[in-house]
């Protein structure tokens, strides 16, 4: 009886395993196929295109590294890349603001749910809509000027937010901060909420004040999410597009970021090969920044983690 049942069971298990594999394969075939079709195939073709002089409709021949050489020898592209520095500065402000609000909202504030909702809302609005909104926001004598005037600042002393080249990139950065701050904040709130609350109690008993708690408990506790947010905002800064395209009239008046230059190269000048090379440069740049950040945190911030764990252990031991 048992002898007869054993192979039967084994066979059934085999069958079930086979079905499992079949199921996994059939379920993943479509997404994998789509991923390959729409991500990897275009990506590898883009690499190939970047070595050619070609338009959308015509291939004018292999040019080797010419496209890449042009990118780094033409001053306008280098200065377009430097525009990212504005957005990176914006990213730093954005992260600090997000962290500040996240800490505030997790400290048992009344109505924190409502505030979270309000602050997260801009992220849900379509980027193009935000662009048009801010165009009116920055127009002379419109929203921003009116608000500032009601604070007693005269219109004459205000700059033209988009026309004056000394401020216009900051105006665009502001729209980007406005949009993404809430998203960062929500991620921070989630991370902070997952910190073991006993740590705060221990720290309070130890006599740590709120700032010390923030520094020694919250900051190390949300390190992973902080890294994620930082990488997202830095890569976002490198490939900034929406604000400059919509609010800045497609990168007019010195607001053309590298991404906008790529767009113009491909769609105005019809130089697809060159645009692909620029996209490759942008991608490599983003990779470099991401790796650099990871290395920075692995080696430079390692000490702080040790001190954190050490402190926490000591706190627990004392407790």
């Amino acid at each position: 009886m048992t002898n007869a049942a054993a192979p039967d069971l084994r066979q059934r298990r085999k069958k079930i395993n086979g079905q499992k594999v079949l199921l996994i394969v059939t379920f993943s075939v479509i997404p994998l196929f789509l991923l390959a079709l729409f991500t990897y195939v275009p990506f590898f073709r883009m690499i190939r295109f970047s070595f050619y002089n070609m338009s959308y409709t015509k291939n004018k021949g292999f040019v080797g590294l010419d496209n890449y050489v042009k990118i780094f020898t033409r001053e306008e592209y280098v200065s377009a890349m430097l525009l990212s520095l504005y957005y990176m500065a914006g990213a730093a402000i954005q992260l600090s603001l997000a962290l500040f609000f996240a800490t505030l909202l997790t400290s048992g504030l009344k109505g924190s749910g409502l505030f979270k909702g309000i602050m997260f809302f801009p992220f849900l609005v379509n980027g193009i809509a935000i662009g048009y909104m801010f165009k009116f926001f920055f127009t002379r004598g419109f929203v921003l000027d009116t608000v500032l005037q009601s604070l007693g600042i005269s219109l004459e002393s205000l700059p033209y937010w988009l026309r004056d080249q000394s401020v216009n990139n900051w105006s665009l950065v502001f729209t980007s901060v406005w949009k993404y701050c809430g998203q960062n904040m929500v991620l921070f709130v989630g991370a902070i909420a997952s910190i073991d609350p006993t740590l705060y109690e221990a720290a309070t008993i130890d006599g740590a004040n709120k700032w010390q708690q923030f520094k020694a408990i919250i900051l190390p506790g949300i390190k992973t999410v902080f890294m994620l947010n930082l990488i997202l905002s830095i890569t976002g800064s490198l490939s900034a597009f929406e604000p400059a395209y919509v609010v800045g009239s497609m990168g007019a008046n010195g607001t053309a970021t590298f991404f906008i230059k790529i767009h113009q190269m491909a769609h105005v000048h019809n130089k697809v090969g060159m645009a692909c090379a620029m996209a490759m440069v942008l991608m490599i740049l983003i990779l470099v920044f991401t790796v650099a950040q990871r290395l920075f945190f692995r080696y430079v911030m390692k000490d702080s983690e040790n001190t954190f764990n050490g402190k926490a252990n000591r706190a627990k031991a004392l407790w």
Partner: protein, 442 residues
Amino acid sequence: MKKILSLVLALCLTLGMASFAAAEEALPTFDQLVYGENADITASILFAYHRTDIPEKLNGYVDEFRKTYPNVTIEYDLITDYAENALNRVKTADWTIMGIPAVDKDELSGFFVPLGATDVLSEKYAFMDAWNFDGVTYGMPSTGNAQGIVYNKAVFAKAGVTEIPKTPDEFIAALKAIKANTDAIPLYTNYAANWTMGAWDAYIGGSATGDANYMNNVLLHKANPFSDNGDGTGPYAVYKILYDAVKEGLIEEDYTTTDWEGCKGMINNGQIGCMVLGSWAFTQMRDAGEHGDDIGYMSFPITVNGKQYASAGADYSFGVNVKATYEQKLASLYYIKFLTEQSGFAYSEGGLPIDKTGEYPALYEAFNGIEFVADAPAAEGEEALFNELNAESELAINAGGNTKIQKIIEHAFNGDKEFDDIMAEWNEAWTAAQEALNVEIR
């Protein structure tokens, strides 16, 4: 059994294809086509086009057309960002008729159905050179545009400008008078809308030189075409008007936040003096408010040897997808025939007639004594050269090079670059492109 079945299936398919291929007759050329024939033809047509502002009018034409061809359905796909979008789509089968985007002329036959021999069609229709390659025309213009300036007559009168300016100096003087005597913005640039800036390129050919060959031939082979001619003509004079107007403070104060839809109402009610736009803009400005009678159209203020000229050319031309089915192609041709000869589209849009028997709309009353110059096509073998020079130099003249015109405004306003230096840069870029493509300088 299965083998036999698949064999039968394959056979059926081949036969089906063969019979389908047999049904493909040669299409009639556009001049042979008689509107009203083949009224029982069945086809569905997707029409990609840029006129997002007049969907009702276009659908009205479809209804009218379907009275004669009831089995043809036509759906318009109206696209705001047309020039780029169409260029991406032109290779696909995802459209039946489209306004031809900026493709190279030697590629036309790969995308569009030939309409007939250019010299034959030219007897009956205007601007047949627009999409001519090797003596064959691939596009039928929707309407013709003349290049001039749309202006508010009441504002000019109030400013004391009684005669239409004929030279750059007179024009700048008129703008100054508007600034001094009225509250209107003398010249509205529409900087923020981008494409309205590229529109300035359309004036450097016929309007600025009186030479029909300038745009597609002379420019390509000229050494330093952006240099000063010294007599207020040529491309230099055109762009100089813009630079000077900005420098003298004769444009809108905050040019980075201009509003294209808003400007129509503003010129209509006298808040704007004039705008440099093709004649297609006239009807839009006229219909944008209650003071339509105030809107006028004048030629560009450049006089060549005592005579004024106005560049004229085709607006977007209709092309039929070469990948469409025979029925779709035929039905499309009938619809284009209808649009060209029956609909009155060109006239109602304030355009120059395409059908040579058509009328000129009233807006050209101020063009008395002004000669229309239609840009002659590029010389044989050089049909694609202009596009290539444009790409190589990245000036994109008359092909979406909006950024370079915006930069004129920025430099003039910020005072950080002289006009001559800008033109010298353009010359340099153009010369480099000519050298890269081995263009002979004449």
